[in-house]
Symmetry: C2
Subunit: 388 residues, 2 copies
């Protein structure tokens, strides 16, 4: 298994050099702004990927499931934010993790959840820390910053035996902001909204040590706007940036050359009458995510490259069955369909790295120069940890 | 873990009573037509589900990956068709399976593949059997039945040291046929096309013992039309029918009450300003499949039921992040959004069972009457075997 020409397809590949470059870019940017990164591990779900971000020792992470929290806790990560609104019956696993010495924080946006966290804290004799989710753009959950319930939730936590640790928002709508200017405004709005919530809590005499923002677009866009960069913010969450994807490239947060995740597939047939090349990589390997469908340029199920990662002009994965991919030229293209004999290996650059990675149990890692056979050299296998 | 009220969400559930009913329905139908079923295991990827179809002993199966073939071979399945066009470098695993005593058949539609199968047969001293894929509806791969290359491929197999075992087609377009009449025509066309190919091979002096058709819609629709039911056909492939899904219900192959797969989720928040109920089941739990989007009735990411499986009128899963689901009323509905407090458990009936099942490592199985707490009683856990 020395090069990408060897393992049987389909399989997911991580380009470690690109990953390292993506990590260095955001780390440098945030260091300049003076705000620490809390890595979201939901994209990679990989201890090995996280270790490229935290070279010296485990750092602060965000998780999307308690399974991730448990897995990363086992690898020495002790500062973990579970950033999905809490289902109260998950509190037993939260308590178990805290008893293992993990500083696990939960996320809530309702009095019912605050009472549940407080009750579990009293029952366990542990002050479970919670952030209150604030909505900045109508994307998903969270309280409006003007919601009069905010203070009450904070008091329920503090007075009920839990710990009010702070506030959080997430500019989820920034994934649909197509220009750098819009993304800067999203970042500024995300920051100002959550800082305002923090100030409201503090004005009511409540603590608010953590003020957390983040999304991959706004993390990169955050800059000095309205006289403030990330003033008042204590941490930035981002996860997708380790791999990036076509959705991020489509809104200019990265370029196609930054994409660190791809899927290797093999040509298994041709339909010249239809202009199709068929591969053994279907939606099971790429996911059904069609995130670029809503963008200016629809990339189908993904852009196609050769095995060395060079984009083949105008060739897209345009169709997907469970274990079949259909490649064809972009509608309107004047390019010629290249000759891709049966057995040819190609790579698919995905719309949405989180979704494509989720279809795989591990990453085949490439790094450095090509192997003796001219194909990218395999540097290792990194497992993923799926499930809940 | 005695009822669906216990395991932490999200998780996939199989209703065994519905599964058994779906299996009995197709078995009875095919028995009447006198043609055996070759179960496609790609939907469930579960030995336990297959055992509900083959009660006495392992029967003939279809697989979509060699990982499935290897897994089912380990459970005693010895008659296996790998029904995705063969990538030649997978022949080493094909040979290894045959050496284990598995009668594994591969699928090809090109001279290049035929030569590869013949060469591998000679090298291994084993006649590897292959079916030739015939295209009946332009859905994916396969030769046109009039393709002059058909006979040459057959001869390459037979004369090159492999085994020409027969022909196969798949009416993949029948998933888009919205009426029973259309599906009957699809079934008839699927049958007649592949029988014609078999006759062409036989007329050229070539053997063609296997004539394989199948898709869940056409398997159920096959009936006496043009004076023939499944005359000339030796086996019917189907897989989705074990679970069915909203796409199948949308074209009338089943009803919503037949759906045997669902995902249990928990309410984690509300956005009354938007009419949203938020859950802890996002696309990671349901997949990104939006198969009903192209149907007469778009079901979003799925229909919502209570924990006992009763459909909540007009409530759909309309949005999905990785670990968040958004439920809201069907556009235009005059129903009232029900009161679903935080902590309420619901079930999502999926668009596409194959895709939703693929997001999970196991099924929680319910059967019989409700447990003491009024929630469906858990009868067991059935593992899935994912990967390639």
């Amino acid at each position: 298994m020395t090069s990408l020409a060897r393992p049987q397809t389909p399989f997911a590949v991580v380009d470690r050099d690109r990953l390292d470059r993506n990590v260095a870019r955001l780390r440098t940017h945030l260091a300049r702004l003076g705000v620490p990164l809390r890595l979201h591990v939901k994209t990679s779900k990989s201890i090995d990927v996280a270790a490229r971000v935290f070279r010296d020792a485990p750092g602060p992470i965000t998780v999307s499931t308690l399974a991730e929290a448990e897995h990363f806790a086992g690898a020495g990560y002790t500062d973990i934010l579970y950033a999905v609104g809490l289902a109260p019956d998950k509190l037993d696993r939260v308590v178990a993790l805290r008893r293992r010495g993990v500083d696990l924080t939960v996320l809530i946006d309702s009095p019912v959840q605050a009472e549940a966290v407080a009750a579990a804290s009293r029952a366990a004799g542990i002050r479970i820390p919670a952030l209150i989710e604030i909505d900045c753009d109508g994307h998903r959950g969270g309280l409006a910053v003007t919601d009069p319930g905010l203070i009450g939730i904070g008091r329920t936590l503090r007075d009920g035996g839990a710990e009010l640790r702070g506030v959080l928002d997430h500019a989820g709508e920034s994934y649909f902001s197509a220009t750098a200017d819009e993304q800067r405004r999203d970042a500024d709005h995300e920051r100002r909204t959550v800082v305002r919530a923090a100030e409201a809590l503090r004005a009511a005499g409540l603590p608010c040590p953590v003020v957390s923002v983040g999304s991959t677009p706004t993390a990169h866009a955050a800059t000095v706007l309205h006289g403030a960069a990330l003033d008042g913010v204590t941490e930035v969450r981002a996860g997708n940036f380790v791999f990036f994807d076509l959705v991020m490239a489509g809104i200019g947060v990265c370029t196609v050359e930054d994409l660190a995740l791809s899927v290797v597939v093999t040509v298994i047939g041709h339909r010249p009458d239809k202009g199709w090349v068929l591969t053994d990589g279907g939606w099971m390997a790429t996911s059904r995510d069609r995130g670029t469908a809503a963008q200016r340029v629809d990339q189908g199920y993904g852009l196609v490259t050769d095995l060395n990662g060079r984009v083949i002009p105008d060739l897209l994965m345009t169709g997907a069955s469970q274990e079949h991919g259909t490649l064809s030229l972009r509608p309107g293209s004047t390019a010629k369909l290249p000759d891709l004999p049966i057995g040819t290996r190609l790579r698919i650059l995905p719309n949405h790295a989180c979704a494509t990675a989720a279809q795989h149990a591990q990453y085949t890692v490439v790094a450095g120069t090509a192997g003796d056979d001219g194909a990218p050299r395999i540097a290792g296998i990194w497992p993923r940890h799926n499930g809940w």
